[in-house]
């Protein structure tokens, strides 16, 4: 017989170190997979993790890819820290993009400095409203927020499908499922000529700073953390649980909405059906890999963004199947959860104890 017991003394240093262990194990695991597939593992890993960022363009693409992941994960950290399981960031991203994109389309033939801020604001509000649905249902009707937020992903994606095929489709676009191109005033300014990295990265960095301030310097942050540790304690302390649930969902939705609007006003430039390769779901991995810590999330978003780019480079140079990228993301989460388990629990061999008693 073995028994699993909770550890009482989890060292904080180790808590923040295990993500690195998970990444190292993932790289080792990836090497083994490449070897089994018949590739030179060192060469494959080089194309995976070094080649994509070996030039300025690659670095810009890494930041471009990490920006939405970081933004969404920052938002999710508020929810997850307070024991609210918002799984529907992808839907909030999509709805934010719909609302933001709608505003951008209103101004499709106009130029002016006021347009972009309006579009961004609309995106954040869109995401916020969409996140409020599971939050309100949870607080007032006791529904399960995991289920509701997840199901709403499909609602928003189908709504986007409907809009780009029907009422919002480009009148000159031969019925192809896409809207008009946004005007230049609705587009995120590019930071460097010839690179795609755009001003949206400042939104992500701003969110990091703000979330650090809220989580560690305000009463709200304190409430969030206490609720996450123990709901009973939070209630006993007299915290208004319902308001807090609404607030964390709103923050989370706004961040996802910003990520969506950043994509459509940044690299994409219009609305169509494929605005996000499931950033909202991948950001869950990012949030946990970053230990729900604002600065950890920056690091984690860069690592996960690299797995996307690496998968492309590895396929271009070595024709390694591109789906290894998803395998890598899965492995990161798996190893992280596995090492967390060993970190928080210890395994005791009870047989040994019995024998000890007998003698």
């Amino acid at each position: 017989m073995i028994k699993i017991e909770k550890r009482n003394d989890v060292p904080m240093a180790l808590y923040f170190f295990t993500p690195f262990i998970a990444i190292i194990l993932t790289i080792l695991g990836g090497g083994i997979i490449f070897y089994i597939l018949g590739f030179n593992p060192i060469e494959a890993l080089k194309f995976y993790f070094i080649t994509p960022v070996s030039n300025l363009y690659g670095l810009s693409e890494l930041l471009l890819k990490a920006t939405p992941l970081c933004l969404i994960a920052i938002g999710l950290s508020f929810c997850f820290k307070s024991n609210n399981w918002n799984i529907g960031a992808e839907g909030q991203l999509t709805f934010g993009a719909i609302v933001g994109g709608g505003v951008a389309l209103l101004f499709y033939n106009q130029e002016g400095f006021h347009i972009l801020p309006l579009v961004i604001l609309a995106g954040a509000i869109g995401g916020m409203i969409f996140a409020l649905i599971p939050a309100i249902l949870k607080t007032y009707f006791n529904t399960n927020e995991i289920l509701v937020s997840l199901m709403l992903v499909y609602v928003s994606k189908l709504l986007l499908d409907y809009l780009v095929v029907g009422p919002w489709s480009n009148p000159e676009g031969f019925n192809f499922p896409e809207t008009r191109q946004f005007s230049d005033s609705s587009r995120m300014p590019l930071l460097f000529e010839g690179l795609r990295i755009h001003a949206g990265i400042f939104l992500a960095l701003g969110a990091v700073m703000l979330s650090w301030f809220i989580l560690y310097k305000t009463y709200l942050g304190f409430q969030i953390k206490v609720s996450g540790l123990s709901l009973k304690t939070a209630k006993y302390a007299g915290f208004k649980g319902k308001t807090m649930i609404l607030v964390v969902f709103m923050i989370s939705g706004a961040c996802a909405g910003l990520a969506g609007v950043g994509e459509i006003t940044g690299p994409i430039g219009q609305l169509h059906r494929m605005i996000s390769p499931d950033y909202g779901f991948t950001a869950i991995i990012v949030a946990f890999l970053g230990r729900l810590n604002p600065f950890g999330i920056i690091f984690a978003s860069l690592v996960v963004a690299l797995t996307y780019l690496g998968a492309e480079t590895a396929q271009i140079f070595l024709q390694i199947p591109k789906y290894t990228g998803q395998v890598f993301q899965g492995m990161i989460l798996f190893f992280l959860l596995a090492s967390d388990y060993l970190l928080f629990f210890k395994v005791k061999n009870l047989n040994l104890k019995k024998n000890d008693l007998r003698h």
Binding site: F174, N175, T313, I316, F317, Q319
Partner: protein
Amino acid sequence: MYKNFFRYLISAIFLLGFSVNSNADFKVGFVYVGPTGDHGWTFQHHEGRNAVEAAGIKTTFVESVPEGADAERVIRQLAQSGHDLIFTTSFGYMDPTNKVAKDFPNVKFEHATGYKREHSNVSTYSARFYEGRTLLGHIAGKMTKTNTIGYIASFPIPEVIRGINAMTLAAQKVNPNIKTKIVWVFTWYDPGKEAEAAQALIDQGADVIMQHTDSTAPVQTAEKAGVWSFGQASDMQRFAPKSILTSIIDDWAPYYVERAIAARDGSWNQQDTWHGLKEGMVAMGPYNSAMGADLVKEVEQLQKDLASGKVHSFTGPIYDQKGNILVAEGKVADDGMLAGMSVYVKGVEGDIPK
């Protein structure tokens, strides 16, 4: 005088060196929208790539590239990593392809099914799938007992509407009572939705199912229900051996090989290609013996006539749903009209979704 001579000499040496060099390193890149194993659209492009490879030219492909922000990076990376010719094989790559083409004037780009050629190094190509639809219409018109043909359509773009119309016109010719029922699924690839659509059409009395989507689900549904069906993009016979009467096969291989060799040898130039049965870009799968020898013979003759140009899929008189004349008697629709087709012909039920 001498100055000019030297300038020419130097540039000649450079060009020579460059072309010899590029001959040895010549590489062709492919960007796919789906996995290579989809048994439909991407599978056929991959077969085309295999043919290029078999012709002794190095190739690379990237599969399942989303048509969003990622496409531009993948295309750019292929251009940056020494690929001289890049095929982008989905409509959604249109703007990214043109954008990257601008920055890499020495790389040639070939975009499938698009209409934008903003730079001299971008060509577009597509196939006259509607010629295949004419054959399907002829077969369907003869085979149906319920006079109802079920059509699973993806998006109301001209290509899809052209296929519906070509099929309906051909079916009406052999069976004036024919009705075409359409279900729009708004996806190119979603086995679940496609199967549901096929079932819905069968329930409405269709005994011939046709699809303008890429999965094998509709033919499998038809096989189970015991109705006729047609394969799409690739030869899907083995997925529904009893039900499939024939398949429209997209055969990109001859075009890909021709364009790759042209690019390697320096004779590549910009063009807008629209090939059909004649050039072999549209091919037909084996005809099901259940059609009977006479019908097979008829269809094979029609296939020859379409290829030779003796018969055109859109020969007047053609009327729209309200009875207005679209193409006058004795005339054929020109390519401009075909490319922008956005109304149903008489005999198609329902409205084009807007």
